[in-house]
Symmetry: C2
Subunit: 318 residues, 2 copies
Amino acid sequence: MTVAARAPSVVALSGGVGGAKLARGLARVLPAGDLCVIANTGDDFTHLGLTIAPDFDSILYAIAGLSDAQRGWGRAAETWHALETLRNLGGPDWFALGDRDLGLHLWRSERLRGGATLGAVARELATAFGLKQHLLPMSNAPVRTRLRTSEGLLDFQHYFVRRRCEPVVLGIEFEGAATAAVCEDLATLMGGGRAQAIVLCPSNPYLSIDPILAVPGWRDWLREQACPIVAVSPIVGGEVLKGCAAKLMREFNQPVAATTIARHYAGLIDVLCIDSRDAALAPQIEALGMRCMVTQTVMTDDASREALARQVLVAAAT
Amino acid sequence: MTVAARAPSVVALSGGVGGAKLARGLARVLPAGDLCVIANTGDDFTHLGLTIAPDFDSILYAIAGLSDAQRGWGRAAETWHALETLRNLGGPDWFALGDRDLGLHLWRSERLRGGATLGAVARELATAFGLKQHLLPMSNAPVRTRLRTSEGLLDFQHYFVRRRCEPVVLGIEFEGAATAAVCEDLATLMGGGRAQAIVLCPSNPYLSIDPILAVPGWRDWLREQACPIVAVSPIVGGEVLKGCAAKLMREFNQPVAATTIARHYAGLIDVLCIDSRDAALAPQIEALGMRCMVTQTVMTDDASREALARQVLVAAAT
């Protein structure tokens, strides 16, 4: 029985690095085939003629155990020789393309040019990297996250990587999301059953989870499920470990706090897992109409990734 | 004064590896700016969305001193991580793309997509790699060498690399050559003057030099020059050191001998340089209406490349 033929019971929505850590934890504690991770593709972009899907690849590498632990992104044992040539030629070197990573981008781009869907390519990649889990893009249709900023409308990677999140963000758009279909027929994907748990990984809510929720089919599907939806707050002790979520919260006149995550997901989620350093906020969060689970949310190794994954599954089961 | 602003006096037509060695020799013995190498682009192809120009790049790397000496092609200190990923994904790995090399392909492809000509890209590459010589493609227009074989019509790289020259060749076509213009205005390139020497490098006559000669502007220009045209035979002791020229000669019912090179270029060249191991053929070659210079043509290091380059220039001057 192939992984693809087995219907998952746990569905996780995830962005890149932070979310990918919990995705790896879930992958390690759940039986083969039981997990389906849906990757944000709002970060996808075309660069040097390559179609690059940073969040999908981060999750793929994380679950496959190929992520670089020190750097926090990209592949372990990576080399940068193509980028070095490109830099010496005065080419665009602002997006760090590792050599091993590049092979995947070349292959994906070739498959897409040949008419394969993003979802079909995802299935092939998951198989080739030995994944025992489902890993799918949120849609086969291109959705592009664009930021209205003090420097004008910026594509996500231009804002996030090239401009290092420096421009002030006035608003966020998910171009193509409203008309994008979900990646696969979800009834078929779920084997005709319903999910037992849905997890919103500790990713940037505005830039990693919202693009998925902006696809109407996903929001509808989430509402149809009877199981709890559990989100994990990316805020730890009033700070964000990685990325620009804190800066966005300030620019949106929101406190950098787990309560902001709770308000953002209110009406959608049943449980919010917050870090023990933010435990004092639990009453305010529960006042928003959701349960609040306090636990250790910082994932520094596989043990802590697995521990958080188990906590999340317990929260969904009780 | 930039190299591009200085008109060359020696023009060499070259294919890849073998020709590139003499190009390097000529580059080392001639003053800066004095040499212009015209690269065969019939081998160029599109692979994984990249525009690859193997002969041009071999010459570029050779003159820049970046060629791998052991392998005979590609860059020194090369790594193969992108190709490894591609192979693990079941992608097309028959064309060996090194990581450092790949950076150049990405950059060139991006520049061409942006509207730059192959010639403009060549100028930029030569500058970026520190060349003091002119190095240009034979044309900005795509010319594609295709082989009519026992397995049907094959693109050059598919015949040469993927099928390792195994199919029997019935004929050779240079698609696009008849309507291709020369890369630059040659009068401007030559500073209004004429060449002092023209060299046909020891490349495969059928697959490396003929595509250049199939561009009408080059054949016309060669006929207009008053200077001697000197070819170097790629045959050494009745054998071909590299590539499939010997196999083609047999398939074309020609002896694998310097005399076949002489007959091929008869009417075009003034001098043929042959290896001392083939010295006995000199009278037959001179009977074809050209001078024959006997020398050491095997280039194993810079000293032998320079020595042959000097011999060729002497042949052109006398």
